[in-house]
């Protein structure tokens, strides 16, 4: 990609970030200091052809930047620059839409620390009442919400902590018990990485 093409991409990218919709041909022309819309169309065609941009023809503001997410590097091959293509194992799409049956539960306390979940971590919960033995999830028991591992044994149902300082919680027939959802992901933000926006 040429420098000029990078400049176009940056402009389009920023425009989309700022406005939530892509720029029109004339807006790009203006932003890039061009007087002809044909020049823009040429450039868009080049960018589309090289795969840097996705676009639906004849559609107003039909530009998309084909983000494939943030690269995941696995074993890094010696000799190569760290972020080079050869090291990429895959991508994680942080912009992938998640249905509104998901929410994060902020972990309070160390009761799951042996499962590497710490106080302050956020666990992504998917709302469901389907839970199998051994699965981690969020549960409400007698009015209190807790993060535990669900265990069904011959001795009954238990909510198991992952910390010897805490005792398993037996779920009796007369307890007010509800499965809230299962844990799909654990996120821990360090030193101001991904922050939580106030409500």
């Amino acid at each position: 990609m040429t420098d000029r093409q990078k400049m176009f991409m940056q402009f389009i990218d920023k425009f989309i970030r700022d406005n939530g919709y892509s720029p029109s041909v004339r807006e790009i022309a203006k932003g890039m200091g061009l007087s002809s819309t044909a020049s823009v169309k040429n450039m868009l065609d080049r960018l589309t052809q090289s795969g840097a941009l996705r676009r639906t023809e004849n559609i107003a503001r039909g530009l998309e930047k084909p983000s494939h997410g943030i690269p995941v590097l696995g074993r890094i091959k010696a000799g190569l620059p760290v972020t080079s293509e050869e090291n990429v194992e895959g991508y994680i799409r942080l912009d992938k839409p998640i249905g509104d049956d998901h929410f994060f539960l902020r972990v309070d306390g160390d009761s799951m620390k042996d499962k590497a979940i710490l106080d302050g971590d956020c666990v992504l919960i998917r709302l469901t009442n389907q839970v199998t033995s051994g699965q981690m999830g969020a549960f409400r028991i007698n009015g209190e919400v807790t993060l535990k591992t669900f265990e069904r044994t011959s001795a009954g149902v238990f909510l198991m902590p992952a910390n010897p300082d805490f005792a398993p919680i037996p779920v009796g027939e007369y307890d007010d018990f509800r499965v809230i959802g299962t844990v799909k992901m654990v996120i821990r933000a360090l030193e101001g990485g991904y922050d939580i926006e106030p409500a």
Copy 2:
């Protein structure tokens, strides 16, 4: 929001997901089985006014769905439905753009397990060579990339594991050493939650 309004939102949402740009008034009309664009405009005005939709007037395909991310629930107040407004402590925007100076490093091995980072976890690294003592980061030493805590003491510089089975790595004057970046976030996907897309 009325049922009809929800149907509009769903249509628009799906359209954006499918196409990467928002539908035009006429496309909405067609999709909702309406014959007049005025009906659509009425509805869009209602949705915009109630805050369900964001939109720039007079701009083609200028619709946005105002996602404020995934809610984070902290201490859940008893008596309330779990996902009710009152429980929301904040939001995490998974669709927040991250610059391309970030990448994920897939953790290989248990050398940081006492810091609650497990084999297979993904750590978000921000490329930088600024690192202070006590900070966790990715380092290259003698051709090998490793995730460790950086420690500068009177005895010299060390890369500290968080696992008694591993020994600190002293960084000597003649070692080939480079700071790759610092850890901003830890992500662990459980049972097919957020998956890694193949490269």
